[in-house]
Structure formats: C-alpha cells, structure tokens
Symmetry: C2
Subunit: 255 residues, 2 copies
Amino acid sequence: MSLAPVIVLVQPQLGENIGMAARAMANCALTDLRLVRPRDGWPNEKSIANAAGADAILDAARVFESTEAAIADLTEIYATTARSRGMIKRVLTPDAAVAAMRATTTGGGRPGVLFGPERTGLNNDDVALADAVISVPVNPAFTSLNLAQTVMIVGYEWFQAGTDAPSEQLVATHTVPATKGELHRFFEHLEHELDVAGFLAVPEKRPSMVRNIRNIFERAALTEMEVKTLHGIVSRLVGARWSGRGTGEGGSGSA
Amino acid sequence: MSLAPVIVLVQPQLGENIGMAARAMANCALTDLRLVRPRDGWPNEKSIANAAGADAILDAARVFESTEAAIADLTEIYATTARSRGMIKRVLTPDAAVAAMRATTTGGGRPGVLFGPERTGLNNDDVALADAVISVPVNPAFTSLNLAQTVMIVGYEWFQAGTDAPSEQLVATHTVPATKGELHRFFEHLEHELDVAGFLAVPEKRPSMVRNIRNIFERAALTEMEVKTLHGIVSRLVGARWSGRGTGEGGSGSA
C-alpha cells in the first residue's frame, strides 16, 4: 500500500464531485479514497461518469459509518476548512501541509486529509479529529471552493513536492540546441550582409545596433536547425535583393 | 482593469466546465474570461448553474471568433498543454509561469493563458501563438486534467504567489498565546505535584522525565487560557487524590 495521503470525503453530497475528486487523485498519483456516509449511497453512477477513467480509485474506495472509523489506521490527520472554528489548531497552507505529510511518510506514518460536505464543510467534531487544519489561500471575496477542486489543490501540491520536474525546460524534438559558435557564425553572416546593405552604416551607432540585434537571437535559445534556417533566410533575402525577384539562391535551411 | 492574467478558453465544449472555470477564477481573484467559439453558444445555462455565484465573471466574459482576436491586446501568452507538440517553446511549470507573469505585470504587460477544448486540448496553431507552454506536472499514468481543474491550478499558483499568507499560523479565538513564564510556572506546579506523588522519585531518571514531560506541553503551543486550564487539572487531580472523591478544590481554569 502506498504511503501517499488518504483522501477522506466526509458526507459528500454529489456523486459528480466524488468522481471528479477521484480523477484529481489519479492526476496526482493518490490512490486511497474513503467515503464517510455518502449522501446518495455507494457505488454511484454519476461518480463513475465524472471520473474520466479513474475507475480503479472508485472501485477501491471504502465506505465508513464515521470519520473516526475512516481514519483509525492513519497517523496524522489534516482537516480542510476555510473558516476558523474557534478551535486552537495549527493552520497550514497546502504546500506547508504536504511538506509535513512528506515528513510523516518518510518516518513511516500515514497521513489523511478530511474534506467536508459541499454545502457546509466539515463540522466541528470532524475538525477536532485533525492534528492541523489546511486552509487554501483564496480570494477573500469568493471563498467557495468546489470539493473536487480542493482535493486537486492538495493533491497537486503533494505530487509537485515529490517530482523533480525542472521548472523550466526547452522542448526540442528531433533537433539540438545551437552551439555558440554556430550562433556567432550566423551573426557574422547577418552583420556582413547588413553592412553590405548599408543598414549599419553609422559607425558610432554600429556597436549598439549589433548588440541589440544579437540580443534578439540570443534570447531565442535557437536550435542548430533554426540557425541553419536563419542563414538560409538571410541568404535568400540577399539573393532577392540582387535578383530583384525574391527567388535568389543561397537558401540552405528550411523550417 | 486588473492586470491579472486573462483566462482564454479556446472552443470549450461543456458549459459546466466554463462555469466551474469561472468559479475557480473567482477563488483566485481572476476576472477576465474570454471564450473562443464556445461549442454550445453563449450565454450558457449550465455555465451559470456551475459557477456557484461567480456570475459577474460569466456576465463580463467576451466571445471571440479566433484565438488571435482574443489575445490581441495582451503582451504575453502561455499555452496549457500536456503533450509536447514538436514545437520549440519554453515549457514551464505553473509556479514558474506565474513568476514570469508577475514579472510581466510589474513591467506593465498583460499576460493571458490559453486552455484548449476538453477532448483534444489546444491545436498546434494555438500553441504556436504562445510565448511559452505551461505543463502541469501530473501522474504520467493519468494525465487527463479536467479543464476547470487546470484553470484552478494556474489560478491557485497566481493567487498564492501574490498573497503573503503565512504558511503556518495558530488560530486562537478570544485568547492569547501563553508566555514562557506562564508555561514554566505550570511546569513547576506540575513537577512539584509529581514529586509529591512520587512520580519522579528515581533521581537519575528525573531530568530526562522532566524534559520529556515539558516537551509534550512545549510542542502544544499552549494559550494562556489552556495553561490556566492545565493548572486547574493538576490541582483538581491532586485534590481528588487527597479527598478520594474526585471533587477536590484547586481548579482555577476551564476549557
């Protein structure tokens, strides 16, 4: 059994939301769904219709008569609630909560997260069962979070904290980044042709113009193929200028 | 008009998802919704039913015939897509993308985020309009993200990056945290009574036992009222021990 957090939906009302919550769980590699007294019984056709294929999670979901029973085997409980309940609890943002959950699972514990009914949210007795509260930071003027959206936010933070996805990458299929040498040969080609064309004719302005032009292409993080294409474009434009027809020779690359 | 990112739904199919996207936008203080050729026309009853009160966003939503038209006044475009499109684009996680968007708005620019149709996602022509791609890190075994959930993740990251919500806080209503002095007076009270009761009678074990007991209460981040309650509990228990009836005097606090 995975040590990922257990999702506990307490008295969920709409089957659609249970299904969408299961889908969100699947997106986030969460697998253990528990339901406390779902209003419309279980299984629920609308849940299946809204799970978008996350059927395995619905099939494995267990139904409990009480929140206490649903969390009996877990070691650390978080209650999602927007409102302060007059209870003295640690209140965590989702990212702080998943950091605590990761520490728990590393230590061999098993966390669970409680989500309340759509209309009312968790009642005070259920919140009291929790070690800490998760409060999603939202627009104070519109705090009504959909149940499945709340599951997604917690799950997303959980999944994100466990991936080492680089925050930025350049996806380049069937090609490789241009080397600086390739880039500079293109710059020389372009600047030579611009000199010939008289575009860089004012000596005191030339250095800053060259720099500005180079910056454009530097910033583009060009691939080898794109540099070839740019060589071709410059050559073709030059050929067109001389031939006057736009079909001059010199193109060597293609997009 | 706010400089928050514009949400552009390209050919959305289900009115429900448009409504839920509007609700997610409201949660995240996003206000500008644009629709490119919504399949079922506009306005849409199902959108209103699923917006949970975010009607102002739906009322203000504008419909466009093309993605180009929808983004014409924006300065920086992000395309949400799970799949690599064989295009050479920067690919950002949602949190990296909102950091870039915050830089854009600080500089006076206005970012927009494109979301594709439910079934197919954005087509290549729409992705090509973007400066960068947003790829939500999800379980590779289940990458099918609901449209409104994707809007929520981007919006949530946006909102979160703009709030200075402390990642952890202790919510205590009508009370204040105990000072260390109050806490230590309670420790002295408790340890005195434990000494009297013979609980700490083994001298070489006493220091570690005291430390362990203190740790329990230190960790609880007690309030002033709770410390008073604990004093009362200790006094009451001591009174009960002497009186043998469980109703001895000495209690001064209450929960």
